[in-house]
């Protein structure tokens, strides 16, 4: 994923030169406001797959720079148009077969140029990344996804930008239906104070948890739970003392990165000394491996369901038959 520093520098220099050249092209052909306008040159030369589009429409070549965006694009039937993804975009399985162009922080500009994208979706707030991609003649659409409302907007935006508003509307409808179904199942149940935490990979006295500013907080609400963390921060780190003070009744630990054998047991054991915490006392510290619990994409309904069935164990039984 990462090369040596000198290679990186060299690559950055090349990219800068190319970006400069691309910028010149743009100024030479004004009015290239739409993504497709720049495509015919390089796009036709590389014998891109027709992807079922009419001959009139220029091929749409999408760069998806976040796991949730890749999932959204696949869910909208745009998987065939994706020409580049990040190393973390592993779902759906078809996505893993696509060429990776780096992660959210380090983009391999060479690989991006090779993929010849016309349209890039990104969640980054780094203006530098956006500028650089735009310098390559790619239409860049940054979207926000920290809250469920922003996820809805992101899906609508993607529908608009790709000319598939119906697919976006259908996906939104599915998500709303999934969430409503979970809400319906937990209606009237007690709402336990729940802490959603991540395990620390390398020894540390603190753990990162989902605060009230994250969409996981909204998922907890849908799943019939109250976030045990009282403040507005999105992903704060807390000390064991703070956990004792919060007195969570349920603890969900999302160990999404595959770990060595016995890791989950070790994570649970780490909590045993906090015996005054109700979740520990009642044996309600759960380690969940599902990575999608923290991916604001089409599977949020599924995530809410897993959380609901973990937090309200009686639900899991009634869903099985």
């Amino acid at each position: 994923m990462c090369r040596t520093r000198s290679t990186l520098l060299l690559r950055a220099a090349c990219a800068a030169a190319l970006a400069l050249a691309a910028g010149c092209d743009d100024s030479a052909a004004p009015g290239a406001s739409s993504a497709g306008a720049a495509a015919p040159g390089p796009g036709s030369a590389s014998a891109a797959p027709a992807a079922g589009e009419g001959a009139a429409a220029p091929p749409m070549r999408i760069l998806s720079l976040a796991p949730n965006l890749t999932e959204i694009l696949f869910a909208m039937g745009l998987g065939d148009h994706i020409v580049g993804r990040t190393t973390y975009c592993l779902h759906p399985p078809e996505a893993a077969a696509l060429p990776a162009v780096g992660d959210t922080l380090h983009l391999d500009l060479e690989a991006i140029i090779r993929a010849e994208p016309t349209l890039a979706f990104t969640v980054t707030r780094l203006p530098e990344t956006v500028r650089r991609l735009e310098g390559l003649g790619i239409r860049v659409v940054p979207v926000e996804n920290d809250r469920l409302g922003e996820l809805r907007e992101a899906i609508a935006t993607i529908g608009r930008e790709t000319g598939r508003p119906e697919a976006a509307a259908a996906l939104l409808k599915t998500i709303e239906a999934d969430l409503a179904a979970v809400r319906g199942r937990v209606a009237g149940l007690a709402r336990p104070r729940t802490l959603f935490a991540f395990p620390m990979t390398v020894g540390s006295p603190r753990i990162m948890i989902a605060g009230r500013g994250s969409f996981v907080d909204e998922l907890l609400d849908v799943a019939g739970a109250e976030n045990a963390y009282p403040d507005a921060a999105d992903w704060p780190t807390v000390s064991p003392q703070q956990v004792v003070a919060m007195q969570p009744e349920v603890v969900v630990i999302n160990a999404a990165v595959p770990g060595p054998a016995g890791r989950d047991e070790a994570i649970r054991r780490g909590w045993e000394s906090l015996s005054s915490v109700p979740a520990v006392r009642d044996g309600r510290v759960y380690v969940l491996p599902e990575a999608y619990l923290t991916i604001p994409g089409p599977r949020v309904g599924q995530a809410a369901r897993v959380l609901a069935e973990t937090i309200h164990p009686d639900l899991a039984g009634e869903a099985a038959p």
């Binding site: 990462c2 020894g203 540390s204 004792v244 003070a245």
Partner: protein, 331 residues
């Protein structure tokens, strides 16, 4: 001040005074740092009491180990810049800890970190040994070069892992007291190693004094200089490796504590050894208490290693610029 002879009474008095300071500070750190009076239920007080006890024990064991190792390294290398990390042990332990955490599991990380420290001790010894002797300058250079190598390897690992793990590694590298989950066995190992090194160094203290005056003089007076060096090097490296496995590389304690004590107590290693043991423990317990209190005051919690350098640096410069400077020499 004319140097007074070190009677047994004065020796015991030194030990008792520094031990009392450590005990009082530790007790205060448990109560004050845990804000034990502020918890609504007895069960919560109990939990927090245990957490605070564990963290104070960690800070004590690590602080004592680092201060002793720093004292021994400075005497061994006759270099006031020497600290426990100067011979590359922390780098070896750190790299092993990080790799083990990522690929083997958090439970095995401390043990493998200690293996990394042992391997580094062997490597440095192998490089620095010439005709069966340890040359201070070769030792120093071997350590510095190995440290640079390990630092590069850790940077490589940091660069290629996931962002979340990258954050964890960066935080660990700053040095932290306490882990999410009890570590009493490991604390016991580090504490035992520190006590063992303290006793060993107490017996070697006279030798340290003589070597500090000059190797030839010491040799002429019958001090087995090379064996002394080897013992100090191995013991200091082992306690350093153990403390890094427990708390990460906490900077500055091992460098500054022996110097502060030299300014206060003078150059006699017979008093410096027990004083370093307790003062190092006290110093780190205080630093840990400060991070706890800052967190209670809603200031974002600082890794204790950052605090020791932030607070220790200016204090040391103050000592350096005042009348205490005269007493700094290692002699």
């Amino acid at each position: 001040m004319t140097p007074r002879p070190l009677t047994r009474r004065r020796y015991v008095f030194t030990i008792l005074v520094w031990m009392a300071v450590w005990l009082i500070v530790s007790a205060a750190a448990v109560v004050v740092g845990g804000r034990l009076w502020a918890w609504p239920s007895a069960a919560q007080v109990w939990d927090v009491l245990w957490l605070r006890l564990e963290w104070v024990a960690t800070a004590s064991a690590v602080g004592a180990a680092l201060a002793l190792a720093g004292l021994a390294m400075q005497a061994l290398l006759r270099n006031p810049l020497a600290d426990p990390y100067i011979l590359g042990v922390s780098g070896g332990a750190g790299l092993a800890f990080i790799l083990a955490s990522l690929f083997v599991g958090a439970a095995a990380a401390p043990a493998l970190a200690f293996v990394g420290a042992l391997a580094t001790v062997g490597l440095v010894y192998g490089i620095a040994r010439r005709r069966g002797r340890l040359e201070p300058y070769t030792l120093l250079l071997a350590g510095v070069i190995l440290n640079a190598f390990y630092a590069a390897a850790i940077m490589l690992v940091t660069a290629v892992v996931r962002p979340q793990e990258r954050g964890d590694i960066a935080l660990w590298m700053m040095g932290n007291i306490g882990a999410f989950g009890p570590q009493w066995e490991l604390i016991g190992v580090v504490a035992a190693a520190a006590v063992g090194a303290g006793i060993l160094f107490a017996f070697l203290a006279k030798g340290f004094n003589l070597v500090a005056m000059g190797e030839d003089t010491a040799g002429a007076l019958g001090v087995p200089v090379h064996r002394l060096r080897l013992a100090a090097f191995v013991a200091a490296s082992l306690v350093t490796g153990a403390s890094v496995a427990l708390a990460g590389p906490i900077g500055f304690v091992g460098l500054i504590c022996p110097h502060i004590l030299r300014m206060v107590l003078g150059p006699d290693h017979r008093r410096l050894v027990p004083a370093s043991f307790f003062f190092g423990a006290t110093f780190l317990v205080l630093a840990d208490l400060a991070t706890c209190l800052s967190e209670g005051a809603a200031i974002p919690a600082m890794p204790v290693g950052v605090l020791t350098a932030l607070a220790g640096g200016p204090f040391f410069i103050y000592l350096l610029r005042t009348r205490w400077r005269k007493r700094l020499e290692i002699r």
